[in-house]
């Protein structure tokens, strides 16, 4: 289920290999910059609702906050909403239909200093009570913060090749895909609410990028739970514009140590289309003596194919193997539409299969239909 603000690495198919082209954050996600908004309005969204006489420049000029063309370059605002209709357990007689307000957020970016080298970015989101807690007592629900910031940082871009960022951000690791329930995000603890305070360094050259992240956990969390550690991510742009990369992450809190590695590839498959792969492993070991090591291995393969401007076919395959050796495979075709700028519809059919040595269970089929709009 995509979450607002996360990047679409698939747009490498449009020829972009660096997240910084469209995002203020060099590792992707968070608010789009002016170029990113213009690109989403033109190359990505359909122009079916526009007269042929309306130029691409004109369409791009309407991509700003509330359709305005900013008169200054220092301050930008954005807001967006994403809702999901979820139909679970199709064909089992135990179908469930839910509407989930996944995210409603507002963000602001302030650029200042000489040559606007400093960036201050902050977002505030409305977060609904998780489905798992909805049936629990009012006290449990009260513990949930309905409003939270998922990102606030200050960045200094010394040059095109080097920048440093400090604050609350997503950890630097792996491919930042939009689907927060993907195993590559949920298993690794890089879910939609797993941001961490810390400092990040970004260094880029023509064909490669390096990200280094030291983090101390989310300061809103109990201190004992905060994962403190560091991560490293390296990307190399191949001659045909594909990107190959690797990530490492090591962290610990008072209860466990975690160590993660991943390898990824993001490549083009024709104009506007792309394929991406990530395989990785996460090891968790309890701090207490004699604790057992838990190991999860995951894989992600996704094809993202442009059928027409604003129309994409998505084919996703996910794999997860846990410590017990049980495996889970999830596969699903999807269709994503951007009928006009600021509007996204997406529908996915997901088939999840458990490959367990304990018992055979029926496959689960879910339907996910989303609407996403931003201003």
């Amino acid at each position: 289920m995509p979450q607002t603000g996360w990047t679409y690495p698939h747009f490498v198919g449009e020829g972009y290999t660096s997240c910084l082209t469209c995002h203020y954050n060099p590792f992707g996600n968070g608010p789009l910059n002016d170029y990113g908004r213009a690109l989403s309005a033109t190359a990505i969204s359909s122009r079916s609702f526009y007269d042929d006489k309306v130029s691409e420049e004109k369409i791009a000029s309407r991509s700003g906050f509330l359709f305005t063309v900013p008169k200054q370059t220092h301050f930008r605002m954005a807001s967006d909403y994403r809702g999901l209709f979820l139909k679970r357990n199709i064909g089992t007689g135990q179908e469930q239909n839910d509407w989930i307000n996944m995210d409603l957020n507002a963000s602001a970016v302030f650029k200042f200093g000489p040559k606007e080298k400093f960036t201050l970015s902050a977002s505030l989101s409305y977060v609904p009570v998780p489905r798992a807690l909805e049936s629990q007592s009012g006290a449990d629900q009260e513990d949930v913060l309905n409003y939270r910031t998922r990102e606030h940082y200050i960045g200094y871009r010394h040059s095109n090749s080097f920048g440093v960022y400090a604050g609350l951000m997503d950890k630097v690791y792996g491919i930042r895909i939009a689907e927060h329930t993907a195993y590559s995000r949920s298993v690794t603890g890089l879910d939609q609410n797993d941001q961490s305070h810390g400092i990040q360094f970004h260094y880029a050259q023509k064909n490669w990028e390096v990200g280094v992240n030291y983090f101390i956990g989310n300061l809103v969390q109990d201190e004992a739970l905060r994962q403190v550690g560091g991560s490293l991510k390296v990307d190399y742009v191949l001659p045909h514009k594909g990107t190959i990369g690797a990530s490492l992450l090591k962290s610990s809190n008072e209860f466990a140590e975690e160590y993660m590695t991943a390898f990824h590839y993001v490549g083009t498959a024709g104009k506007g289309s792309s394929v991406l792969f990530e395989v990785g492993q996460k090891s968790s070991t309890g701090i207490e003596e004699g604790s057992r090591e838990l190991k999860d291995t995951y894989g992600l393969a996704q094809g993202y194919f442009k059928l027409d401007r604003g129309v994409y076919f998505i084919n996703t395959l996910e794999y997860l193997k846990d410590t017990s050796g049980d495996k889970r495979i999830r596969i699903g075709p999807g269709l994503q539409l951007f009928p006009i700028q600021r509007v996204e519809f997406r529908i996915d059919l997901q088939n999840t299969r458990n490959l367990s040595s304990q018992s055979a269970t029926k496959d689960v089929w879910d339907l996910l239909a989303q609407v996403h709009t931003w201003f």
Binding site: A269, A301, F305, K327, S356, K362, D363
Partner: protein, 351 residues
């Protein structure tokens, strides 16, 4: 005086027609002339046939008739007339042909001359034939026509013909060759290793009861395949031997039946077709699998296990991503009568 007028008009008309027919010159009068001649090609051709003897005496008449035949796509008739026109310049024609391999022997012709244009026009007619599928229906004929285009283009060059126009003909031929090359079906063989997973059922039968047992399986497979493809379309067949492992459970809550690690084996053969819709290294299309599997389920006392083997077909969507000699394929779909989807992932190496 009448004779002088006729000669002057003939010379003027000859150049006008030559320039018009060979795409040279753009003044209004030449275009008007061409339109005049273009109004009724069949009439021109018929008139030429009826007055052939007279017409052959006039280079202009022959040119107009040849052009009419070209427009009517009667290329052999047009070529016949151009051959006859070459007869007007026998000595020069022989000299130019001798100079093909020895450029120094090329006769000293003026920059613009009818012989060179005639060669060019012949090359043009052969090019039109080359670009017309019905005229090039065999490989030998294609080669023969291409040879003639090459010959007359070279002759026209030797005789100071229109270089730019000749190069345009060569470009068209080369473009056609590229299209033909892309349309040509090529075949390759490949070996692959794969993973597959599926869900099906067996039945426990005894004392008049049928108990459905759900099987979740995964397997590895190794096999060979053949693909034939051109720029648009792919057809393929592959076959693999599969060994797998199955976990089985009863779907009825009051019946306990569980087995895991059940040895399963079989084959998976696939007929597929595909299109390059998105890019030149990505094939997508439907495939029809034929799946045979058998397993070694243990039989509880007093019960009989049925459907331990079957052969079934289905329908799947196949996506293949090529990366040099390697390719990666995912197939997802349904084996008819199975309980859920079938997934196959392959890594192939082509020979």
């Amino acid at each position: 005086m009448v004779l002088v007028n006729f000669v002057i008009k003939s010379v003027i008309l000859t150049f006008v027609v030559c320039f018009s027919l060979s795409s040279f010159g753009s003044n209004l009068s030449s275009q008007s002339m061409l339109r005049l001649f273009s109004e009724n090609y069949e009439g021109v051709a018929t008139s030429y046939e009826l007055n052939k003897a007279k017409a052959k005496k006039s280079g202009i008449g022959q040119l107009i008739a040849a052009k009419a035949y070209e427009e009517l796509e009667e290329y052999n008739q047009a070529l016949k007339i151009y051959e006859e026109m070459l007869g007007r310049y026998k000595a020069y024609d022989r000299a130019v042909k001798r100079s093909i391999h020895k450029p120094k022997l090329a006769p000293d012709l003026k920059e613009e001359n009818l012989l060179a244009y005639t060669y060019y026009l012949m090359a043009r007619v052969y090019t039109k034939m080359y670009l017309t599928s019905s005229e090039v229906n065999t490989e030998s004929k294609r080669k023969e026509i291409k040879k003639r285009i090459k010959l007359y283009s070279l002759l026209s060059e030797r005789a100071n013909g229109p270089i730019v126009a000749i190069d345009e003909l060569r470009f068209k031929v080369s473009q056609r060759d590229q299209v033909l090359e892309m349309e040509k079906f090529k075949t390759y063989y490949y070996a692959y290793l794969g993973f597959m997973t599926w869900q099906d059922q067996i039945k426990l039968v005894g004392s008049g009861n049928n108990i459905d047992i759900l099987n979740t399986s995964e397997g590895s497979c190794a096999g060979f395949g053949v693909k034939t493809y051109n720029v648009d379309r792919l057809y393929g067949f592959d076959f693999c031997y599969m060994v797998g492992s199955t976990t089985s459970s009863s779907l009825m809550s009051n019946i306990t039946y569980k087995q895991s690690g059940i040895a399963t084996s079989g084959f998976f053969a696939t007929f597929e077709t595909g299109w390059q819709i998105f890019s030149d290294n990505l094939w997508i299309g439907p495939s029809i699998p034929v799946f045979y599997r058998q397993g070694d389920w243990s039989t509880p006392d007093g019960l009989e296990v049925r459907e331990t083997s079957y052969i079934r077909t289905g329908l799947m969507l196949s996506t293949t991503w090529e990366l040099g000699d390697f390719s990666f394929t995912s197939r997802f779909g349904k084996i008819f009568d199975n309980q859920s989807s079938h997934l196959q992932l392959l890594a192939s190496y082509q020979f």
